[in-house]
Amino acid sequence: MRYLPHTEDDIATMLTSSKADSLDDLFMTIPGDCRRTGDLELPEPLTEWELIDRIDSLSRDVASSREYTTFLGAGSYEHFIPQSVSHLLSRSEFVTSYTPYQPEISQGTLQAIYEYQTLTARLLGMEVANASLYDGASALAEALLMALRVTKGTRVALSRLIHPLYRQVVATYLQPTGYEIVELPYGTDGTTDLSSLDTMDDLAAVAIQSPNFFGSIEDLKTAADKTRDRGALFITAFTEPLAFGLLKNPGALGADIACGEGQSLGIPRCFGGPALGMLACKSKYVRTMPGRLVGKTEDVEGKRGFVLTLATREQHIRREKATSNICTNNSLCALAAAMYMASLGATGMRELAQINHDRSEYLKGELVTAGQDVAFSGPTFNEFVVRFTPDFSSRYDELIEQKIIAGLPIERWYPELPHHYLLCCTETTGKKDIDRFVQEVTP
């Protein structure tokens, strides 16, 4: 569907048929004291080139500028976005798409969402993926609610190595429901300690993130088996889906629900948003799945067509019994992810994942050689935790002055880990950047 602004003629026609003399007349029903009189307090308008200058000078002050070398990941990753994605995504039919209710006029958008679902299901190794949710954190919360519906359990177990902000969102979602959240601690290797699971009753779900917040790769297979023994659903969360280009996907390791953040797949880092909530599950749970779902069907003439399907799960039909109060999807971001995955293909995803892993391993190796202390021994994908010396925090600030962001200090969420920093490398982190960084942080 195209977005076409109203012309003066359109407005005049609509005013005539609504029997209003002017737009002000049309809005008469809004009480006077709720209406603004006078102009908005805005600066004078700028020319296009003045505006570009202004935005450029603003962006030079923040570390998203190319002048900065950042080793920040922690749930939001800097990846190269092919021009094909930016170009296709700028088509007006996509940019203005709202969730398409009417298949008669929305075949393009519906098919694009269907392709996103297919690619997502393949990447995660799951049977069915929905049309997307808001972000990784809400996808995890929705996955947990889904498991509570399926199993009728009363508590969920969450690894403490799930992204701390995701856990906050989950706590917000579950707080009014009365369901209990149990935290699974982590061990010295930087992965989740599952030993407390054996004695836990009424479990609806066990949720583990891999690679986890410390960057470590979890033993999902063992966690899946233990979870099944407790009669619960196994939920795998992720913040970096690119990892599945290299690692075994959640489906292959026994996930009942896989969910997480899709920002890595062709969506730029824009100060935390917009994001893409990915959620996929086994087909047998599709009726308890939250969110929109596009299906493929045939019309009366036997031609292929795409429609929203299983909509009876949703709140416009099921009201308070709906599986979720999310009744839309993140179409534009989902389409970006679909275009990104299609642009790379399976081979491209594997190669790119390998590059990410190798860059990160190179940084890790160089740091170790320089005498730095890598905090956890387990294998990692494209980020890992380093324990710097206690005086590093002042050095961290100096490095920012030098336009280097030395990762994320994680003590705020893990008080037991002072001076620990989460460092990330992607394909955009050059060898020169890494060498310079290692030099800068080595006393």
Binding site: R287, T312, R313, I317, R318, K321
Partner: protein, 134 residues
């Protein structure tokens, strides 16, 4: 949709206000939905039933029935333990449309108080209810 006069409403079952029926067949007690209910729902595409051994108090929700246009909850007319469920409906939920009182049955129960059936409506009471709803 059918007129009330067109509905098939057998005499040998009792009806609930929420449009389920209950019937004693020899020593088993079966529950389903009425011809009126299936007709209102339209093409049924999925029936979610409880597990054998689950127990429900009178009037509690024991499952859902999903048609192309709506999902409705199923309420048990008489409380009891589920002895068996109609597994045919997993693959052929349309049996509920085609034959709501026989092949389209939903569950069999061991009632807690069979006498509670007397609280359910006879055919004539049910027709009166339907006429009132029109």
């Amino acid at each position: 949709m059918k007129e009330i006069s067109e509905l098939y409403l057998p005499d040998d079952v009792r009806y609930a206000e929420t449009h389920e029926w209950i019937r004693i067949d020899d020593d088993r007690v079966r529950i389903g939905i009425s011809d009126f209910a299936q007709d209102q729902l339209g093409d049924i595409v999925f029936v979610e039933l409880p597990k054998v051994g689950d127990t429900f108090g009178s009037g509690e929700e024991f499952g859902t029935v999903e048609s192309v246009k709506a999902v409705s909850e199923l309420y048990i007319p008489v409380g009891g333990e589920v002895l068996s469920v109609n597994t045919e409906l997993e693959d052929t939920p349309e049996l509920v449309n085609q034959d709501p009182y026989n092949d389209g049955w939903l569950i069999e129960i061991q009632p807690d108080e069979l006498a509670e059936m007397e609280n359910c409506m006879t055919k004539d009471d049910y027709i009166e209810l339907l006429e009132g709803e029109e």
